[in-house]
Symmetry: C2
Subunit: 365 residues, 2 copies
């Protein structure tokens, strides 16, 4: 048994607090990872606060996990002790449905869908002699912890030329934006719009530019305009600048909405060319109503996309390493996590918090 | 000058009434058509009542027009006097934009978009000597009339083995449903859903079946279930039958919504397989809000589509002739048009009214 310490919330109105627990030793195909860094995703906050009505408590978030392999099971061949590796949003899937067989684990339609890195149902490694689950918990615990144990084929390789702390947000924010760019065929010369400029928007703008697109960022925050342009956007526009929006009608090949809460996409639908798509990845909730008139008049589509596959996650890590694409981050110790949540909710982070998990080991020693 | 009689509305609250007007003689590329039949589309009602806020009065509807060529201009080569021909929703387009050059006139992005068969801006054939438009009206008049004059390349050929009165609804209802089936690649063996079973739904179900799909119709009307099944649907389901809907989750390759007014597509989004699309062709207005969670979790899309191109209109006419696909219609004389509108609005037509324009000629003689 492995003794681990992490930060969890006991209920939807509770702050995250230190939480000690034990973890079984790695099975044959497991990799035990000493967590170095973990990104703070807006989903962590949705989940901790039970905003998707499915949170099991205690809830220990974290699905942008980078660390060092501390131990491996006897059958592990992909990773070795000492490797710098990553874990994203998934740690398993059914492996048998058509989506899994197609390598799209993120769309697994097995009985339990894919297994979330945190807040997924706990799958026992073995039954205790009394037939009961030998674990002390019902749900998976994520990367806000000193260690995590994951099956080797859901563990990603972090390229050598990618700083571990910068790699962390690529594991969710990166692949969540890269996957729809690839699926909808964003290519050099395309005009790509990014709605919202937070953690996802920052990665999306950089990745789209590295794919050869001309990037326009739409933000509600005047001070983010210059930051987006400094990060490589051709231009950043205030979402309420109706005159500029009108001048851009029908000029976009692809638009990605990264806003994490309910919003109105109608002003952006009008910016798409004929037959093009606006994809919503940020808000997993009921949106403002859409007017089908401008959708139908240009045969446009409004779609959604969910993270990315394991192969795409490795691909975006390699792509970011090759093209020197990294998120803008602020590193914090774990004891500032509750304050960080407040600032994320206020859109006041530039642009992704990454927790230095060394701070937790130091504090607990 | 040609003396014509039709039925027009003088304002949004007025009934349609007989209206005499004159029409210039055909120019070199024009075809003058003696109208035999005209379908009654729900759009006619939206337009007459100014429900899209763009109606110019008097408004003479009708864009499912079938007739006999009565005269042709000197340069006309495609049609000859006596031919049975059709006119759909468009009578011209800019012919220069990328959509027109791609043969997709229905997505024309020229300065005035495509020219609608009725309620489009009147384009003068010639200026009167005083420099004023020589027409007595500002907007185009549709097929609720004894005659219509249209440029030859926007006139369709009605196949010999298609009854003229049955061909009329194919010119709008037919192509509006056929075009998205073709664009999104509906193929033999696909499971296709049709939401709403009125004029569009009736054509959609028959065309989808002729394309080789297995068709499920969703209706709010219990008595339409057996009619849809008789028309070729594998099954027809009441939209509020939550149990049956739940059993069909994730099983559809394509869903077409033909409901002509604002409605909730969320229960149907859940029925799509991964990566599939629900296309709204009926309602050109603000819809009920969509929940992006089920959209994103299966990378689904919600799209719109607008009628079809001239080439697709000819294609669907030929397809329907080849596969013996015809709409279920009720033929009415023109003096029953106001009553027919009320019944269309109540969903009480089985399934498309077609006006016998001979009734107008007889009455006016």
């Amino acid at each position: 048994m492995l003794n681990v310490i992490g930060y969890s919330a006991a209920g939807p109105h509770d702050k995250l607090k230190p939480h000690r627990f034990t973890c079984e030793d790695p099975r044959a195909i497991d990799v035990q990872i000493e967590v170095m860094y973990c990104g703070v995703c807006h989903s962590d906050i949705h989940q901790v606060k039970n905003e998707w009505s499915n949170t099991v408590y205690p809830c220990m978030p974290g699905h942008e996990v980078v660390g060092r392999v501390a131990a491996i099971g006897s059958g592990v061949t992909r990773h070795k002790v000492g490797d710098i590796v990553g874990v994203g949003c998934m740690i398993d899937s059914c492996r048998a449905c058509e989506a899994c067989l197609a390598g799209e684990q993120n769309y697994c339609i097995g009985p339990n869908s894919w297994l979330a890195t945190y807040n997924g149902p706990m799958v026992p490694a073995a039954k205790a002699p009394n037939g009961r689950n030998s674990y002390e918990r019902d749900n998976t615990f994520g990367g806000y912890a000193t260690a995590i144990v994951v099956k080797e084929d859901f563990v990603l390789k972090i390229p050598h030329n990618l700083a571990p702390e910068k790699a962390a947000p690529i594991l969710c924010a990166g692949v969540t934006t890269y996957s729809p760019f690839k699926h909808w065929g964003v290519k050099p010369g395309d005009h790509v719009g990014i709605i919202g400029y937070g953690g996802l928007g920052n990665m999306a703008a950089k990745i789209a530019k590295a794919l050869g697109a001309t990037v326009t960022v739409f933000t509600t925050s005047a001070d983010k305009r210059s930051l987006a342009e400094a990060a490589g956007a051709e231009r950043a526009i205030l979402e309420n600048d109706e005159k500029t929006l009108a001048s851009l009608a029908g000029t976009f090949d692809f638009i990605l909405s990264t806003v994490p809460t309910k919003h109105d996409v109608n002003p952006f639908v009008a910016l798409l060319k004929r037959d093009r798509t606006l994809v919503i990845v940020g808000a997993l909730e009921v949106m403002e109503p859409t007017n089908n008139m401008p959708v139908a008049f240009k045969r446009r589509s409004i779609a959604g996309s969910l993270i990315g596959s394991i192969a795409e996650t490795q691909e975006v890590l390699d792509f970011c390493a090759e093209h020197d694409v990294t998120p803008d981050i602020e590193i914090i110790p774990i004891d500032r996590i509750n304050e960080a949540y407040e600032r994320v909710e206020q859109g006041d982070v530039r642009f992704r918090y990454v927790i230095d998990m060394g701070s937790l080991r130091t504090a607990s020693e």
